[in-house]
């Protein structure tokens, strides 16, 4: 915890994924919500097969999903999603010829059944 997924359409050729993941993680660390920086597990996935809407328009997306152990307030979640969206906006700035949607979702993980182990123990 937390887990972060960055999903994006692979027509966002200028997206620097490595740099973006690091910035997203730094933003989470800077939020003060997480005890240890190593807890943040971020991964990115490019989609070659995608379709935004039905109109024949060149479109793209970059979406973050942040999964947290349940229990955080709505205010904290809003702050986190807003700050992560700012990172996306910096990362996807030059989109000439594309309609691009950026979004951030925060989701809860069931705290009672979540288990984790760190190796080596």
């Amino acid at each position: 915890m937390p887990h972060l997924h960055l999903e994006y359409s692979d027509n966002l050729k200028q997206l620097d994924v490595e740099k973006t993941l690091l910035r997203l993680n730094h933003t989470l660390v800077g939020s003060g919500q997480f005890a240890q920086e190593l807890d943040i597990k971020a991964r990115a996935q490019a989609f070659a097969q995608f379709r935004v809407g039905v109109a024949p328009v060149a479109r793209a997306f970059a979406c973050v999903r942040l999964a947290l152990l349940s229990g955080r307030s709505s205010e904290v979640k809003q702050q986190l999603s807003s700050s992560l969206l700012e990172v996306l906006k910096e990362a996807v700035h030059d989109v000439s010829g594309l309609e691009v949607q950026l979004s951030v979702e925060v989701t809860d993980m069931d705290r009672d059944s979540y288990v984790k182990v760190l190796l080596p123990t």
Copy 2:
């Protein structure tokens, strides 16, 4: 909003993913539940590494997960999942030699913390 994921085992060689995504999106547009067609962000992912059950039988799957902002009724969700399943059934019809499972899940996204921006603004 909405986000749609189509996940399928890569032994479904005859699945026309591009066509299926467009049909899924058209079905969502036709539901009248969404203000703008461009809001629908659908993406597909083939899995080369999968295992259905434990028996040594040739099996496959195609699963849709539709993520909506929270607040829609159970009836609306049932209508959406049923209509999306019909699209899957049309898309995956010739499955000789394979046991195929098709499924649709509808999931809620927390409305309070979800943020989105459209570029160019």
Copy 3:
């Protein structure tokens, strides 16, 4: 139902994914919680683009997400996640030079709107 996702960083070179998926499925079958073994749809995804935390340390992860139809007790979910974590621990044992995080999350799928069909019918 159930759906199982195994996500892992692709620096876990020694992970035998095929074997691990089968063991995860056998564990679910052995739990007695599922009517038919073929219901278990497990898939795995390697991430080449990932970032754990912000420190310049060699890190890795392997995370299972198990999605169940809503209604199972917290105790059942805890038993399932614990037993799946044991499988991960056996699968990812030799991690010299890497900090590895293994985790299991159990999530509910909305029972009312979930639909499934098995082909051929």
